[in-house]
Amino acid sequence: MMLSYILLSGVTTGALYALVALGIVIVNKATGVINFAQGELFMFSGFLAWALHVQFGIGYPLTLVLAIAGGFLLGVMTDRIAFQPLKNVDVVSLVLATVGIAFILRGVARVIWGGKGDYLTFPPITSPEPIMIGEIMIIPQQLAVLAGAVLIMALFWLFFRYTRAGKMMQATADNAKAATLVGIRTDRIYALAFGTGTAVAAAAAVLAAPLTLLYPDMGFSFFIKGFAAAVLGGLTSLPGAILGGLLVGIAEALAGGYIASSLMEVSGFVVIMLVLVIMPSGLLGARRLRRV
C-alpha cells in the first residue's frame, strides 16, 4: 500500500474523528461533563439521514442540513432529559443517565433499521472509482468528505467567533458564575451546547455514512476515538480537538496499513491510555485533568 494513500485516508477518517471530538469538546467546555450518548447520537443522526436520503429521496445537501437540524434537536432533548434535572446532583447519575440514553438510541436504531450485523449502505456522493494523479491514488469520495469536514469546521468557527450565541457559550465556558451575573441564561447555553455538539456529530455522521456504511453499533467506536482525539487535544480546546482527530486518524491508518488492520479498532484505547498516563493535559489543553 502506498504511503500517500494511507495518509490521505488517515486524514479523511481523522477529519471525521475531529468532528466527533469537536462535539465532545463543545459540550465539555460549556457544561464540564462528557455526554456518553455522543456516539449513539452520531449513529442515530446517520440513520436519520439515511431515511431522508434513501427512503424519502431527499437530495444530499438538503439531507445534510436536515440531519444537522435533527441532531441539534436530539442534543437539546438530551440536555432536557438528562443534564438539566441532574446537573446539580452528581456526576455518577449524570453519566448513567447519558449511558441510558445511549442504549435507548441503539435499541431504537436496531429495531427500526436492522438487527446486529446488518449494514445499510449510503449511496456515495461522488464516483467511488479511484483516480490517479501521478503516483497518488485518490478516492474522490474521501476528498468530498474531507472538504465537507473542513467546511463544517469553518462554519462552527464562524459561529463561535461572530454570533451572539457562540460568544455567550464561550463566556459561560470561561466562567459560568460570572456569565449568570451578567445576565446570560446558562440553562439556555447548556441546551445550546448539547444541541451544537450533537449537530456537529450529525454532520460527521452524514459525511461518514457513505464511507463506513451504517450499523447500530457504530456509535461506540466513533465515541471512543472521538474522545481519544478530544483528550489528545486537551479536552477543552477546539483546535486541539481537530488536531487530535487528525493525529488519531493518521496513526490508526499507519498502524492498520503497516502492522495489522485489526489494530485500527483499538487505536482509541491506546491513545487514551497514553495521553492520560503520560500527558494528562493533552497537546493544547491549558487545564490539567483533576488529579487525586
Binding site: 461533563v33 446532583v89 443517565a97 441510558g100 440514553i101 470561561d174 466562567n175 471512543i224 492520560l276
Partner: protein
C-alpha cells in the same frame, strides 16, 4: 423482630433456592443460576460504584476475563475446573487491581472513559488473539462432573453457584460493616475528609477495584460453565448497561439491593430474550428512569415502608434526592467546568 424483615425474607429465599432443583425444569434452573451469577456481578459493581463511588466501566471486562481465564486454563493446560475456576477469578482480580493503578490517578469522568476504553480493549483481545482465545467463534468449555456427588452437572453447578453466591453475599455484608466499608464510603462521600482521617485514597480505591474484579471473575467462571461456551459476545458493551441497571434498580450502596436488582433484571432480560433492540431500549430506559426518579433504587422504597431492612452505611440515600439547600450549595457539575 419484623416478620418481613430482611433476615426472614432472605432465609425464605434461601429455602426456595435450595429446593429449586427438585421442582424446576432445566430452563428454570438455568435462570435461577443466572440470577445467582448476576447477583455476584451486581455485588461487585456495587462495592466499587455504590460504596467506593468509583465510576468504572470495566466490570464487563472482568466478567469476561474470569470466564476466559477459567475456560482457557482448562482447555490449554488441562487444569481441572476446581483449580481453573478460582484461578480465573484471581486473574480477574489481579487485572482489576492492575488497571486501577493508571486509572486511579484520574477521577470522575476520566476514570469512566478510560475504563470504558479498557472494556473495548479486552473485547478486542478476545476477538483477535485467536491463537489463545479462538477469536470471534469462541470455544466450548470442557464438561465438568460433580462425581462422586449424586447430582447431574446442571444441578451440581447450580448448587455450586448458590454456595458461592451465599458465601460472597455474606462476605460483602460483613465487609461493608467494617472499617474497610467505612473507608469506601468515606472516599465516596469526601476524599479530602477521608484523607484527613488517615484513609489512603489510592490503596482504598485499588482495593475496591480488586475486590470488584474478583466478584466479576467468579461470576465469569460460573457463567462459562452455565453456558458451556465462551465467546466475546457474552461480555460486550451490552453487559455494561445490564450491570449498571442492576445496581441502580436494586439500590446503590446496598448489598441486599444487588440481589434484588439482579433478580429483576435477569427476569426482564429473559422476557425480552428474542429482541436485542428491545432489550437495549428497556434497559437503557430503566437506567434513565431510576437515575432520574428513584436514585435510592427499590431497596430505598422497601426500607421506607417495611421494618427490618436497615443497613449499615445507608444513613441518607447515597445521592441527593432533593435539590441542595440554598444556604450551602454543593458545587454543581456545571460550575466545576470553569477552568
Amino acid at each position: 423482630m419484623a416478620l418481613f424483615g430482611r433476615r426472614n425474607v432472605l432465609l425464605v429465599l434461601l429455602a426456595v433456592a435450595l429446593v429449586l432443583p427438585a421442582v424446576a425444569n432445566s430452563y428454570q434452573l438455568y435462570i435461577g443460576n443466572l440470577v445467582l451469577i448476576y447477583t455476584l456481578l451486581a455485588i461487585g459493581m456495587n462495592l466499587l460504584l455504590g460504596f467506593a463511588g468509583q465510576l468504572a466501566f470495566a466490570n464487563a471486562a472482568m466478567f469476561g476475563i474470569g470466564a476466559y481465564g477459567t475456560g482457557l486454563l482448562q482447555v490449554h493446560f488441562g487444569l481441572p475446573f476446581a483449580i481453573a475456576f478460582p484461578a480465573g477469578a484471581l486473574i480477574a482480580a489481579a487485572v482489576g487491581l492492575a488497571i486501577s493503578f493508571p486509572a486511579l490517578r484520574l477521577s470522575g469522568l476520566y476514570l469512566a472513559l478510560s475504563t470504558l476504553a479498557f472494556a473495548q480493549f479486552t473485547q478486542w483481545i478476545f476477538l483477535h488473539w485467536e491463537g489463545v482465545t479462538f477469536g470471534a467463534g469462541g470455544f466450548k468449555t470442557p464438561q465438568i462432573s460433580f462425581d462422586p456427588l449424586p447430582v447431574s452437572k446442571p444441578v451440581g453447578l447450580y448448587y455450586l453457584s448458590l454456595l458461592v453466591a451465599v458465601a460472597l453475599y455474606i462476605f460483602a455484608r460483613n465487609l461493608v460493616a467494617s472499617r474497610v466499608g467505612r473507608a469506601f464510603v468515606a472516599v465516596r462521600d469526601g476524599e479530602v475528609a477521608a484523607q484527613s482521617l488517615g484513609v489512603d485514597l489510592l490503596r482504598t480505591k485499588a482495593l475496591a477495584f480488586g475486590i470488584s474484579g474478583f466478584y466479576a471473575g467468579v461470576a465469569g467462571g460460573l457463567y462459562s460453565q452455565a453456558l458451556n461456551y465462551v465467546s466475546p459476545e457474552g461480555y460486550d458493551l451490552f453487559q455494561i448497561v445490564l450491570h449498571k441497571a442492576m445496581i441502580v434498580v436494586g439500590g446503590m450502596g446496598s448489598v441486599a439491593g444487588s440481589l434484588l436488582g439482579a433478580g429483576i433484571i435477569i427476569i426482564v432480560l429473559e422476557l425480552l430474550r428474542a429482541v436485542k433492540g428491545a432489550q437495549e431500549i428497556v434497559f437503557g430506559g430503566i437506567l434513565l428512569v431510576f437515575v432520574l426518579f428513584l436514585r435510592g433504587g427499590l431497596i430505598s422504597v422497601i426500607q421506607r415502608y417495611v421494618k427490618g431492612w436497615d443497613e449499615p452505611l445507608h444513613a441518607a440515600p447515597p445521592r441527593r434526592d432533593e435539590p441542595p439547600p440554598l444556604a450551602v450549595p454543593a458545587t454543581p457539575v456545571a460550575e466545576r467546568a470553569a477552568p
